[in-house]
Symmetry: C2
Subunit: 372 residues, 2 copies
């Protein structure tokens, strides 16, 4: 009834799968001749950021200033904070840079705000490189490449004594609305063309655009042609998940992250309760409304059709196909491994990864959560 291992629920990372995912993206970047600046918002781990660069503290992207601080403390020196910076955030960025020596590149999308950020930077004695956020059709943030504000913003940044124009960037979040690889490739072409158009427009008025950066795991994995692009910023590729598998970007065997959970009880409705619920798995659902798919039972691959049908805060309802009685397959105390729908959200409630590998010793890696 019992099995050795850390107390459940916990995250396990298959390091061999992780290493394969990291190597695949490095090859893609090399093939296209672009810099890889991995987004660390998914894994939030120093060990993984190092491994993503073959052991070096290379260029990275972060989604919070706490991540920025965590990676800067670990020796990373070139960090893109990929959420629009407001004046209120500048003091924290300045303190971070002063304490660690890291260079933080910020995002800008509005001239008035950028001017106010520049004024704050000036009062902190700071000089901030800025990328202009370009909207390539996702509609979340940034300027369309034909927006008349774009050259104004570019000029303001470049002429400001405490800002410098580092280039342009975009995120093609619409790739996650795709249902097949061809649709992802079409989005990748939008992503490239919008970003290159913005870069061209800025260069045409004499501004420097050293960086032309795109970033999403689906488009980075499937894009055919990155002409004009200098940098890619995928993040989820490190772990991958069932959402990526659903849009044909990977197979279930490429997913490096699993939630290990224990069977607690069996119920007349046909479900087994497990000790991973809404917090350990997240509430992100798969295409058919499930909260994750069972990949392993103990040390063996699971038969198909076992999934988490519903979650309470600390409990998951594990079901089989057609209400299959799970009592004999999954006695109480059995440990199962669940593939996550959305690795970024599933990992977020956890502080540690338990590392499993055929070629490395077991290990525990920390991840950093929170904001400041």
């Amino acid at each position: 009834m019992m099995k050795a291992g850390p107390p459940t629920p916990y995250l396990v990372v298959d390091r061999d799968v992780l290493d394969r995912n990291l190597e695949r993206m490095r090859s893609i970047a090399a093939r296209h001749g672009v810099r890889l600046r991995p987004h660390m918002k998914t894994t939030k781990s120093v060990e993984i950021a190092l491994a993503a660069h073959g052991g070096q503290a290379g260029s990275i992207t972060v989604s919070t200033l706490r991540e920025a601080r965590h990676f800067a403390d670990a020796g990373f020196r070139d960090i893109l904070y990929a959420v629009t910076t407001t004046p209120a955030k500048v003091t924290e960025i300045a303190a971070l840079g002063a304490a660690t020596g890291a260079q933080i590149t910020i995002l800008a999308e509005d001239a008035t705000v950028a001017a106010a950020v520049g004024a704050e930077a000036q009062s902190c004695g700071l000089r901030l490189p800025a990328l202009i956020d370009i909207d390539c059709g996702y509609g979340r943030s940034g300027l369309r490449p034909d927006d008349p504000h774009l050259p104004v913003l570019g000029r303001l940044i470049q002429d400001h004594p405490c800002l410098s124009l580092a280039g342009v960037m975009t995120h093609a979040g619409q790739a996650y609305d795709c249902r097949d690889a061809d649709a992802v490739r079409r989005v990748a072409r939008q992503e490239v063309s919008a970003t290159v158009a913005a870069a061209t427009l800025l260069r045409d008025i004499g501004l420097p655009v050293p960086t032309v950066s795109i970033g999403s795991t689906p488009t980075a994995l499937l894009a055919d042609d990155l002409s004009g692009i200098t940098e890619i910023r995928p993040g989820n590729y490190q772990f991958l998940d069932l959402t990526q598998a659903a849009i044909s970007v990977c197979g279930p065997g490429d997913i490096a992250l699993r939630v290990v959970t224990e069977v607690l009880s069996h119920h007349p409705g046909g479900h087994a309760l497990v000790d991973a619920g809404a917090l350990a798995l997240s509430k992100d659902t798969g295409a058919d409304g499930h909260y994750g798919i069972v990949a392993r039972i103990g040390d063996a691959p699971a038969p198909p059709g076992l999934f988490i049908a519903k979650v309470a805060q600390e409990q998951g309802y594990l079901r089989g196909p057609h209400g299959l009685d799970l009592t004999w397959l999954l006695p109480v105390g059995t440990r199962v491994e669940v593939l996550p729908n959305h690795a970024c959200m599933t990992a977020a409630a956890h502080d540690f990864y338990h590392i499993r590998s055929d070629s490395h010793a077991p290990d525990i890696w920390r991840r950093v959560n929170g904001w400041h």
Copy 2:
């Protein structure tokens, strides 16, 4: 454009509203003559657990063993771990009890598992009180009161040298499927009748049932008659949220928890981006699919109709009614306070509460996350 305060996003708790919520539940427990054993899974704060008992380290309920350890370290001595205990968890419970002197009461729902838990307890030199989990119609866990396994389980627990029968308990999670107060009251009657029926059956075969425990915020707030019940275990009542308001259990003014977030930018689609997204707000949606409602802009109440329409990991899309242009109402840098749909999930990504009050000094309270 800027406003003093901690860096966003962060949680603020209105202590005056919190105190009113805590006092209301204490009055309800006193009126019914039952013990209040608040569930700490929502707020996970020592200060709030103390305040829930008028300053004493009284009886509490927890959802993880890390919570149990955190509260035991703070002096709480009577802790119900309200998730079914398996043999694999007993060592951790024993260590916790040995280190702190706290008495952990466990949940049992199966005789074979309870016997194995008892054997583990014996090998740890531990004696564990156990409540039997009763299914009052929610269908998640526990035994129906007429299940023939119930007397077998009761007898096994009571006769085991390292277990003792503490009573019966249930959770009426189906209260959250209700759409009005009358429906909640009907669920409260199911909750009481199932639990009392189980207690009666066990007493009829000569077993002691000192505790007859029910627990959900909606039913605890609205139940008319708790005859036969000795204990209530509500948790969400401490903060309340828009889910509770939607089932008429409270009004928006009773919600003590808010997410403070800053406006980052404005977009042609009519949304303002704010720096609270899927992690800071959670992905739990309200009845009409939103991720939270704006209650305040700066220090003033917000006009109605402002809500978070969509979330990315670190960004929320704030929209107004009919695509209202928000540029002038919410300049970049404005701080807004968002009421959460589900306080248990929203609070879970945060480590601290910023405490605001008209009658107490500002403070920062820690919350405990994770599992072990």
